[in-house]
Symmetry: C2
Subunit: 435 residues, 2 copies
């Protein structure tokens, strides 16, 4: 492998004005403008070879993450890819444990989101380089990534037996059928009942069988909306509900109990994402109703996930490709989930989250869990048009990506148009505001 | 009370080159440059009336916190002090739950440190205004703050009985004797044995009886240093040890067991600050040795403290004036600690942490815990000269501050000199680097 020295890191603040149409609205994020801190790495080996990475945000605050990426970039620029991947754990620690910067984390919040953006770009770069160097047709890049992850596991002697048996079959199954997905696009909190009915009917026609509804702002509204959706999808399709942290512990139990008649599979983010023991209480109270607790999109690192698993505080692990330290940390979380025999059902949506996380969940199925039982990956149908290799959904399944890399390269035109605050989209909005 | 509209918020990146002499060095922060994001609020009522606040950092990364303060400032400028304090809880939530910015937290890391800097300035402003308006001699500003906090408790009907009985006596006792302190200045990890011996002997001569030693990098070193200090201070003085998160759970238990012969009162930050259940295991294992677990300086919010208390994962609550959401959140933590009957022993040192936290610990004693048993406040003897009303230590006790406000107004000359990267101190260091 060539050394591939990283000679430049650029980061841009890219925002989409999704709040204008209430896409993505929930009980805590009432006006999100889906955004990313978008990182591009350049190397000295080949002008065309770049690594693309991002972290997802929801508008204001993206500039803080951009600032953090810039601060961390001094630890990246000048390193060779070879140095990085030959001690990827050490490199992760370099970013997360800088003797001065770790104070403003450690491994949480802004600095962790920035670490994810950078590491996603490094993984993308590595996947592209590997594909080139190994000089054989890539079946799919996902499996290429999985291959590298498997090597990493071996190298670091993580003592969990990875499911070897049947790996080949599962690989073929995924290429043919894809990984099961559920949709969150039908029932954002800000949508009217009419929108909800129309979107839900369309989704059913397209083959969707699993639906998530946002709840938590008003109980009567929730009852009306859940009742409407359950009627539309029938008793055999799957319904999940998501409160986005709106409640305290007892409120969560009372509220969800009142929605139990609609048979949701899980309640997602019932309370503060830091409250491991609170989630454990909620899990225990809702278990007799057949409702599990799902959380993870704001769970900031592997140590928090470890405790959620130890305390039986969740029944569905929702990994996020940008909240924790990229593939490195998600790998640890996937392995822990397998050890505790808890299904991984990733958080996705936003901008680029579906593109990224499909790699992780395919790896989980093919090489770790070997099961689809109670497993599915979130899908939200917007903003994919801004990516060079957007996710492919067929019959409500993620079809494994075939292009090299980690799938989050954006179209340069989209990036420029949506750069905040100077891109043309935002200049136009500012002009309208002045009129 | 006048409305006192906040018309301007400025924030500056102020760094002290402490790494040059290894002040503040520990097992995880080997080269800290003690720093602050320094906030000044101006009002429309009186040019001389300002609110001063800060959050502590250790060098690189301060610029990220400054960026976050700027992002949050739009939620502060334009508000009147009256609006804020008449619904202080609502104002706290406004800062911590902005529908877009909360994504990059919530309530943790950079955005929480920035929230603390702003709220510290608001509390300072409020204390100054109250002192003026009530137009009577302030005994000490601490008690003025305590008075306001007490009102707040009453308003929000927090159901904990605050110790009324004997309050007057404790107030007088504090004015006379001060609050017991311990010193961390003698035994930073980067100090030589000779430095350590000298500083320890000087501290003993000044009346110090409680000493903290940094450990965790090398066991043989730790044994040598602890043995040396225990010999110097004798069997009856108090020794604490601090690993600054260096170990994993089992390593912590093994390592501390080997230091048990030196009879430390506590082991501080034995492992990852997020690992509530890990700390619970360590607490359980060390209890038979008579060693407690202390943590909190990197515990990012009240929900984490709640779990530490619920899980019996700590025996000493180390509140920090800048890590969580200022007085508002520390109040909740102090009350929870009292409910669980666990002593509060604040983290201090850094820049301005002693100045701030003395108000909180005096409030704890006078109005909540009413006990000094196993209680003491950290003190580090440096950088106080940059403050307008530096802490006063007499016979190893914090003497209650008498100047109005929250005591973290810095000398403007110090701020200008140490502004990063353009202050003269940093320009000189840059010049030396070039030579």
């Amino acid at each position: 492998m060539q050394e591939n020295k990283i000679i430049k890191l650029t980061v841009r603040d890219v925002r989409f004005p999704t709040s204008l149409e209430q896409h993505g609205s929930d009980a805590m994020h009432t006006d999100p403008d889906y955004s990313v801190a978008y990182v591009v790495l350049e190397t000295d080996s080949d002008a065309a070879l770049k690594g693309y990475g991002l972290t997802f945000t929801v508008g204001r605050g993206t500039e803080i993450v951009v600032c953090a990426v810039k601060a961390l970039s001094t630890l990246v620029v000048g390193k060779t890819l070879k140095e990085i991947v030959s001690d990827f754990r050490g490199f992760y620690r370099l970013l997360s444990s800088d003797g001065q910067m770790r104070w403003v984390g450690p491994e949480k919040g802004v600095i962790q989101l920035a670490t994810a953006a950078i590491l996603n770009a490094v993984w993308d770069l590595w996947a592209r380089v590997e594909g080139k160097v190994r000089n054989k047709p890539l079946k799919t890049n996902t499996f290429e990534c999985a291959y590298m992850i498997a090597i990493k596991i071996q190298n670091e002697a993580i003592l969990l037996k990875v499911a070897k048996k049947g790996q080949k079959n599962r690989e073929e199954q995924m290429l043919k059928e894809g990984y099961p997905a559920y949709t969150t696009s039908c029932a954002w909190l800000g949508y009217t009942d009419q929108q909800l009915t129309q979107l839900c009917s369309e989704a059913l026609a397209q083959g969707w069988t699993k639906f998530k509804v946002k709840v938590g702002a008003d109980l009567q509204d929730d009852i009306r909306r859940c009742s409407l959706i359950r009627k539309l999808i029938g008793p055999n399709n799957t319904l999940m509900i998501d409160a986005n942290q709106r409640w305290d512990v007892n409120e969560a139990i009372t509220w969800v109990t009142k929605l139990a008649e609609f048979h949701p599979l899980w309640i997602e983010e019932p309370t503060c994402p830091d409250d491991v023991l609170g989630h454990a209480s909620i899990s225990k109270a809702l278990a007799p109703l057949g409702i599990g607790v799902a959380t993870g999109e704001q769970c900031h690192n592997r140590v928090m996930f470890k405790q959620f698993l130890q305390a039986a505080a969740l029944q569905f692990v929702q990994i996020d490709s940008c909240r924790v330290g990229s593939v490195n940390e998600n790998l640890a979380i996937i392995l822990m989930a397998a050890k505790f025999n808890v299904p991984v059902c990733p958080h996705a949506g936003g901008v680029g989250l579906c593109e990224l996380v499909q790699h992780l969940i395919l790896f989980d199925y093919i090489s770790v869990s070997a099961s689809l039982n109670n497993r599915m990956c979130e899908y939200v149908d917007h903003l994919h048009e801004h990516f060079k290799s957007p996710t492919i959904i067929r019959n409500a399944h993620y079809i494994p990506p075939k292009d090299p890399g980690y799938s989050c390269e954006m179209l340069e035109e989209s990036v420029q148009k949506h750069q905040y605050p100077d891109g043309e989209v935002w200049r136009a909005i500012e002009q309208q505001g002045k009129q």
